[in-house]
Amino acid sequence: MAKISIQKIDLDAEKTHQAFEYNSNEFKKLIAVFCSPAVQLSLVFDNGRKVFVRGMEYQESKDSIPNHRVFSINKTLNKEIISGVINKTKRHIGQLAVYLIVEK
């Protein structure tokens, strides 16, 4: 049975804009992405060649279903680098991280 795990990419909460990269070699599928509340997320696949989302605002509400607070992707990974940029909005507080739900 496929095993899923949550990979956390910790970023510097002091910075307003920040780029990140993640080497997905050990995983075969990216199921979903989510991040710290009140940020804008850009995500690029295929080693920088395919922009998947650009500047999508990510916010969470206690009135929504926790399992639905993710961006479902279900993308097969081909030993690629996943990269992106996080921009904090003025409402952001606390730590800054991007989470990838991946399948082995």
């Binding site: 899923i4 009135d63 607070r69």
Partner: protein, 131 residues
């Protein structure tokens, strides 16, 4: 046994400061897997984090996981309040260790963490959450 049978075990902890609180509890030994986690909407601040959630040395969630991702209000249907986007953890009565910190604590409150246990983890996940 009904194929969707499950139980919800609740852990209560009074949060009394902005320091890290650690609590441990044995999970119900009649159930083999921990499938979901939910936190009731309380006074905990948007900066609250689960520093660690561990069973038998296995991390259920990443370290320093923001509570904002899993807390749900009473506007969410009860079964939908559970966060299940992780691999079900084998338990069989093992102890769970939870470390929690609320940096913006301002008064004492009761933190309730609900744990969804089942002997048929995939059936429960499919029937309750993936439809």
């Amino acid at each position: 046994m009904n194929k969707t049978e499950f139980i919800v075990q609740t852990l209560d902890q009074t949060i009394t400061s902005d320091k890290m609180h650690e609590f441990k509890e044995h999970l119900d030994s009649d159930y083999s897997h921990l499938v979901g986690i939910a936190i009731s909407d309380t006074y905990c601040s948007p900066k609250a984090i689960l520093n660690l959630v561990k069973v038998k040395g296995i991390d259920m969630l990443p370290d320093n996981f923001e509570v904002a991702h899993i807390i749900a209000s009473t506007n969410v249907e009860p079964n939908n309040r559970f966060y299940t986007l992780f691999e079900p953890v084998s338990t069989n009565g093992d102890e769970i260790t939870i470390k929690f910190t609320d940096e913006e604590y301002h008064k004492d409150y009761n933190l309730q963490i609900h744990l969804l246990l089942s002997n048929q983890p995939e059936n429960v996940r499919r029937s309750l959450f993936l439809n």
